[in-house]
Amino acid sequence: MFERKFINGNAAVAHAVRMIQPEVIAAYPITPQSTIVEKVAEFIAQGELDAEYIKVESEHSALAACFGAVSAGCRVFTATSSQGLAYMCEMLPYVSGNRMPMVMAVANRGMAAPWTIWGDHQDSVSMRDQGWIQLYVENAQEAFDTCLQAYLLSEDSAVRTPVMVCLDGFVVSHTDELVELPDLQAVQQFLPTYQPLYSIDPATPFTFSIGVAPDRYMEYKYSQQLGMDAALHLIPQISARFAAIFGREQAGLIDAYRCADAEYVLVTMGSVTGTARVVADKLRSSGLKTGVLKVRSFRPFPSKALVEVLSQVKGIGILDRNYSFGNQGALGTEVKAALAGNTAQQQIINFIAGLGGRDIKPSDLELMYQKIVQAVELDTVAQPVEFIGLRG
């Protein structure tokens, strides 16, 4: 049983939160995230969700309050974007280092300066190394579905790692689409109530988040990697279970579109994936063997799954909506690292596009494919990192 609603990505996340039933919510408004927490507040006001809503005075406090509530054994939720995520930065490794289950929606937005409210992945990608799982979605339905899966993943006893569900600002967060909302019972069957490993109980006092010396610190960090390893394993399983219950295919770690026989593949994250598929289809009809590989899980990074798809591909384009200044796009670095040691002769170009909300048009994507094809034909890459769509 499900209901179909014409809603945007932020509303889809809010509906997911309503069904997931976190006990404590703390968040601070920022465009393009704000309508998530507004909608969640409305659900509480209307009696559709029973949760403590802490009216914090900043994002730093939002995550700190969530941290406190998880210590007390609660399931929590927060959401942010851009400057807000940067402001939370200090808290991010405190949450992950304490192996606290938690889900945060990130409505992606570029980083100032120059200030912008529009979308790219710079905000969450630059938090890559804070120990959070990062899942990138491409539309409102996937945002909804992924929030549900994210809690199951985060709360798994072997994972116990917080998750960011990243949705592109405006393109996903504010664009209305038809979204299927399952009924509450099905959600509860999929996602059982949260069972904390440890929580505040005066009868058995613990000290939460201790200090350690060099003789112990590394083991804690290694244990976080074990959590990531477990997540890598579990993400496809959870997606499969979700698909079985709700009848919608899920991407798992990656989604490979027409890649089986592809010679030219564009690797993407987020909402541009849909457009890329349309472009790949069009180029296929003109005889080019094109495909699209979407990375849904950026952390943990699915190197093995990626290599399985890409190892025989002749030309690879990696599309980044972020940039690591002084080098290249983050996804570019990661995909190349995953392919290191692959013996096939391949041409790889890292494309940078869509920064600060600039449209990535079908013609831009076509141009990227052309550049890949050309590199394969010439057997060389003229420019390994290329900005696409710059003003002339």
């Binding site: 703390a26 309050a65 406190g68 509530a69 007390a72 005066p202 613990f206 201790i210 200090g211």
Partner: protein
């Protein structure tokens, strides 16, 4: 009601702390937990007292302790309060135990948010008047005239040239039900205030002056003496603001000259007689205001 330290339980809920000998902050924590008892969660943050109590394997707390980031204690407190409410454990005392830096400077925003939200918690600021954990740098609570490692002495007279931030007044202005100043040198007064804080229907803020031998430059045996002199000279009045009413809980009859307090501490050793007189004039002016009926 526990009226005297003689009535406090023998059991220590902070034991094996690595604090310096004569640490006023450690004494403030020990006494507070003896009053609050085991049904308490301590939320603490980067500070001397976190460093000396939560470093594995020498974990010193006999109650639950949650440590977190330096600017965020107020918000962590709110999260713990909300979480315990969800779990039906509103009976648990939630104590924010935080230094002056974590209270009046970097933690002020989150604390302000928590006070404004009005949740029930106790904030105990142990005030040693500088960032001791990181090596005695000045904080907003460092008093006028003090030498710290970022307000050093020397020919350019960089010593602290601004008065101590008046956090008690800031707390009162948040309209919370209970605000008090206290001193480790007046334990009976202090433990009564902790009990009032426990009974308060919302946020309770207590700032307890906690001398620090290495930071202030006095002998480890003189911690209580320094605390007492701060009160006897009128530099640190003992008072409370309860449900809108201000009152002194201990009023020095004949205030001693401030020099008796300042002259015994290394951090004030450089002060000229003129500066000591100026500090005396400030203290006198403050008491004139008190005597004309002003509170914190």
């Amino acid at each position: 009601m526990i009226n005297s330290i003689k009535e406090l339980p023998a059991e220590e809920l902070v034991y094996g702390s690595m604090a310096c000998a004569g640490c006023g902050g450690n004494l403030a924590l020990r006494l507070a937990l003896k009053v609050l008892g085991k049904n308490t969660v301590v939320v603490t943050t980067a500070s001397c007292l976190m460093g000396v109590t939560t470093f594995y394997p020498q974990l010193a707390f006999g109650v639950t302790c949650v440590t977190s980031v330096f600017p965020g204690t107020g918000a962590v407190v709110s999260g713990v309060v909300a979480g315990l409410k969800r779990k039906g454990r509103e009976d648990v005392n939630v104590l924010g135990f935080v230094g002056d830096g974590g209270t009046v400077d970097i933690g002020l925003q989150a604390l302000s948010g928590a006070m404004e939200r009005g949740e029930k918690f106790i904030w105990l600021c142990y005030d040693n008047e500088a960032y001791m954990n990181t090596g005695t740098q000045r904080s907003g609570a460092t008093p006028y005239g003090a030498i710290t490692s970022t307000t050093p002495g020397g020919p350019n007279e960089m010593w602290e040239n601004r008065p101590k931030k008046d956090m008690l007044a800031i707390a009162v202005d948040h309209g919370i039900p209970y605000v008090a100043s206290a001193s480790i040198a007046y334990p009976d007064d202090y433990i009564k205030k902790i009990q009032k804080a426990m009974q308060a229907p919302g946020p309770a803020y207590i700032q307890v002056l906690a001398p620090c031998p290495p930071g202030w430059g006095h002998a480890t045996s003189q911690t209580v003496a320094m605390g007492r002199l701060a009160v006897q000279t009128g530099i640190w009045p003992l008072a409370e603001h309860e449900q809108g009413e201000f009152r002194f809980t201990h009023r020095p009859v004949n205030r001693k000259p401030v020099g008796e307090y300042l002259n015994q501490q290394g951090r004030f050793a450089h002060l000229s007689p003129e500066t000591v007189s100026a500090i005396q004039a400030d203290v006198d002016a403050k008491w004139d205001k008190f005597n004309s009926g002003c509170g914190f």
